[in-house]
Symmetry: C2
Subunit: 148 residues, 2 copies
DNA sequence: CGCAATTAGGTTGTGCACAATATGTTTGTT
DNA sequence: AACAAACATATTGTGCACAACCTAATTGCG
């Protein structure tokens, strides 16, 4: 307390960011449970639903900013649940191609209204949400640069 | 893609929030490694440094919005490292009192400049950071309400 | 007092994150 | 062709998060 004002929990961005992220994830978790999905599994599907074509693990990781150590077990669970197919690329056996299965596409209807359920409980106006998204995006660009 | 614009990864707040939080945590992780701390351990210490008096696990959890299942192992590691003392409250044996040890207080000097190292790489002005903190705080208030 | 209900913290199990490392593949370069 | 370097993914190990459950201590109330 005495002389480190910059070390106050509320003086920094990190803690509100961390707490808000966990709070939002918690909301999603409860809404996604009815579809049998975890939040990272849902994020994987959001990314995979964006393309009709198969996508490699590396491309998915670049989109979600997650590495293979995180994605592989998540994708295996999605495969075990029948939502995603995984197969080696015949043209380059190092790569694994991911493809949403028909039941995986059907899931999209079941979770289509989840974002509205989240937004309604967030206490921000549409304008504020847009502002927040803009600030976070700018921050992500800055954080992408290697540490100088 | 065809008919679910609300399910775009970038259309929602959740993904930028999640990605930004992980990116910031990653920055802290590298800076905190020299002090032998993880990011959640650092958060616990930030909260404990805010009070000269012993604090219970429950009070710490309320401050950090973390439950005992998360805090207990983190606190045990901080105790094993000699930064924090844990003892049952004699007045109420259900409670555990947490107290920063002398070496725990010394750590505060070693990490005093960590927030500056983070802020410099974040790409936001001071005003933007304040704006972001305000939006996140308002969001946290909204997310604290039970789901209606 | 006697005892059900509440409270505080700990334990267990599942699922991420991420660093470090390993393995198999492909690509250059000679 | 031979082989070193680069590449894509998988594996392993540590440390969270959080739900569900458990145990012991305390509190209220008749």
């Amino acid at each position: 307390m005495t002389s480190f004002p910059q070390l106050g929990l509320d003086a920094q961005l990190c803690f509100p960011l961390y707490a808000a992220s966990r709070a939002v994830t918690r909301r999603y978790t409860t809404l996604l449970a009815q579809a049998g999905l975890t939040y990272p599994q849902y994020l994987c599907l959001l990314a995979l639903w964006e393309s009709e074509e198969p996508v490699t693990v590396g491309e998915l990781g670049a989109r979600l900013r997650l590495d293979s150590g995180t994605l592989t077990p998540v994708l295996k669970r999605l495969e075990a649940a029948g939502h995603v197919g995984r197969r080696r690329d015949p043209a380059d056996e190092r790569r694994v191609l991911l493809e949403v299965t028909p039941t995986g596409w059907e899931l999209r209807d079941r979770v289509a209204d989840v974002p509205l359920g989240i937004a309604s409980g967030m206490g921000l106006t549409e304008a504020e949400a847009g502002q927040l998204r803009g600030l976070l995006d700018r921050m992500l660009v800055g954080l992408d640069e290697p540490v100088t």
